[in-house]
């Protein structure tokens, strides 16, 4: 089957009034005349007073960027949001489509309980207020992958609102100090996904696969509290970890389970916000950061050279490393929001308000869901820091790599070594090797048991740390040998015989009287030279620190 090129094809979506431009020469009002949109878009960003246009001062004037994210996460469920067809990433085209998904007349939406639970869990995890009553609406636009001509969403009254997400960023240039920042969550809403369009440019047509049409999505709308690509990347990563910990979404960006759109504008601090552009087609966290930083720079360059920013949608081209305008055929969008007439309001309960004798299948108890929430990443990291005394940066690193935390905990279970040592070996040595060979933790040739064995030998001073590195190298080969076996095979054991070592040191000192004199004078290179000689004599089986102690003792 020919593989037509897949291009981002969602039509332009307008997000009006949060971004009123007052500072540039060409004032742009909301592209939408529709009042109903205006009701939705009451921005929580303070409306800056419009003042008369000023020429932007060139150079010397600091720019501030404002970034807001809208994130769509596919809900991890067996069936779709409003129909009983299966949710699956790979399947023959149009095989997971029910009559409702294909929008055949006479079909009606039936809400999936699991999707509501997923939304409540996510809302609670993001510190939102869960609305006990929420409403469904229709958002109308025409596109071939939206067979009904509208998407069922929650515009007026979403299921959750007013939350926050805390995330970690590295402070300054030192990659070892982390600070915590917060981004406000405006709302979380349930909505339907559209089908997939594959552009066949050769035959000038579009191929439509509706397998994805109707899959449940959680849209997480954030306030524009971010200021650069790095912050956005950290936010998305943290949200990914939360969704994965909750099990509400697998949040795999590459598979389209997590889609991020960024709204970006620049302005001079103290002046009104600038015109924003929307950047789409961000398929990985790395691209996300690059695209945002690039767009910020593009806007600054444009404004500094006297140009203006258009309120448009841009797409990130990873090959060119820049954002390009998307084809914007429809111009201003008017979605004509209306209440979904086929769905009554969604009512949720808590333990206090639960009606007596209600069918448990038909009611959702927020308190019950709250009690059953699994441990969130922030709590896990706190526990790691408290339990093992590790630095916050390390706890972040352990959670950020899939499977690494489990690996670490398995090693801790089997070894006597100190947590600090284990942390260091897992984060520095193991992770370093994995990254270098481009392997996931699950593909590691070294098992937690093997590493635990190695660390035990190190801990009991049976081997030196340099020998340990050698053993690690051997273990990496993936042959089924334990650390102990490798040590005995390669004779890497530390010399345990203190007397033999003393005799060796003594003879070495006698053989190099000049060096000994230098050493007594306090010359550091002299002692190092002696250490080196003794080490060679012991075939590297003596711990340099012990050699040093012995030499110093003997020479005093």
């Amino acid at each position: 089957m020919a593989a037509p090129m897949l291009r981002g094809v969602s039509p332009v979506r307008r997000w009006s009034l949060a971004w009123v431009d007052g500072g540039s020469r060409h004032r742009r009002t909301s592209p939408n005349g529709s009042t109903s949109n205006r009701i939705r878009e009451q921005s929580s960003v303070a409306q800056q007073p419009l003042h008369t246009a000023q020429k932007p001062r060139k150079g010397g004037h600091k720019w501030a960027a404002v970034v807001g994210l809208e994130i769509h996460a596919q809900i991890s469920s067996n069936s779709k949001l409003f129909s009983g067809s299966q949710v699956s990433f790979t399947a023959p085209p149009n095989s997971l489509v029910s009559f409702f998904d294909a929008s055949l007349p006479g079909t009606l939406p039936v809400l999936n309980r699991r999707c509501v639970e997923a939304a409540v869990m996510t809302g609670l995890a993001l510190n939102c207020r869960i609305n006990k009553k929420s409403l469904f609406d229709r958002k109308h636009y025409f596109y071939a992958d939206l067979p009904a001509g509208y998407q069922i969403t929650q515009q007026r009254l979403p299921i959750a609102a007013n939350g926050s997400l805390s995330y970690g960023v590295f402070v300054g240039n030192r990659w070892s100090h982390m600070a915590t920042k917060t981004v406000r969550i405006k709302q979380i809403q349930l909505e339907q996904d559209s089908g997939k369009s594959l552009h066949d440019d050769l035959r000038s047509q579009t191929l439509i696969d509706l397998n994805r049409a109707g899959v449940g999505l959680l849209e997480v709308v954030m306030e524009p509290d971010l200021s650069c690509g790095e912050e956005a990347a950290a936010v998305v990563k943290e949200l990914q970890l939360i969704l994965q910990a909750l099990g509400t979404s697998q949040a795999n960006m590459a598979e389209g389970q997590l889609r991020v759109d960024a709204n970006i504008s620049v302005h001079h601090p103290g002046e009104p916000l600038g015109i924003r552009t929307e950047v789409k087609n961000l398929n990985s966290i790395r691209f996300l950061a690059r695209a945002i930083d690039h767009e910020i720079q593009r806007q600054i360059n444009e404004l500094e050279s006297g140009g203006e920013i258009l309120n448009e949608t841009r797409s990130f081209d990873p090959k060119l490393g820049c954002t390009v305008p998307m084809r914007d055929k429809e111009g201003k969008q008017d979605y004509r929001f209306m209440p979904e007439p086929n769905l009554p309001p969604l009512v949720l309960y808590d333990t206090a308000s639960l009606p007596a004798g209600a069918d448990s299948q038909q009611v959702i108890n927020i308190d019950q869901i709250r009690d059953a929430l699994p441990e969130l990443p922030s709590a896990t990291r706190k526990r790691l820091v408290q339990q093992y005394g590790m630095l916050p940066e390390h706890s972040f690193a352990l959670l950020n790599e899939a499977g690494l935390l489990q690996f670490f905990q398995n090693v801790m279970k089997e070894t006597r070594a100190e947590p600090k040592k284990v942390t260091s070996w897992v984060l520095n040595t193991l992770l370093g090797y994995l990254k270098h060979h481009n392997l996931a933790v699950s593909e590691s040739p070294i098992t937690p048991s093997a590493l635990a064995g190695l660390l035990d030998l190190l801990d009991s001073k049976a081997i030196s740390s340099s020998a340990a590195k050698q053993v690690f190298e051997e273990l990496w080969k993936g042959e089924a040998k334990t650390a102990a076996q490798i040590v005995s095979e390669k004779q890497l054991e530390l010399m345990q015989d203190q007397e033999a070592l003393e005799r060796l040191c003594q003879s070495m000192m006698e053989g190099h009287p000049q060096v000994v004199m230098d050493m007594k004078k306090g010359n550091p290179r002299a002692i190092n030279k002696l250490i080196g000689l003794v080490r060679k004599a012991t075939l590297n089986r003596a711990d340099p620190a012990v050699i040093k102690d012995t030499l110093e003792r003997l020479s005093s």
Binding site: P11, S36, N112, R113, L135, P345, I364
Partner: protein, 136 residues
Amino acid sequence: MAARAVWLAFRGGLGRRQAFSTKANVQGSGRITVEVIEHLERLALVDFGSREAVARLEKAVAFADRLREVDTDGVEPMESVLEDRCLYLRSDNVAEGNCAEELLQNSHRVMEEYFVAPPGNISLPKLDKQESFLHS
């Protein structure tokens, strides 16, 4: 409530010459501007092909306007006529799908189990390019 939503949408588009009056001006032409017609045609893909159609639209708006004569002070608007019903929650089981062949039969053009559609949306021609009956 639905009629009210329709009214709000029209009000939003009508622009400058604003009549906030409760008494609707039924005498047609000029109240619904050319821009509104064009906007609606593009959004809803309906064809207001004649003066009669526009007049009928204006009459419909006037009819709905009569709702404003009702005093709704202190009355909470309904969300929908179903708002007292219980929203049924379906359990998360796979029970539908696997009918690609049947669905594809509905399509004019099909290619290897995909529906075939034109490449993207095709814009309606601009009003000045087509015969404008309102100006004729």
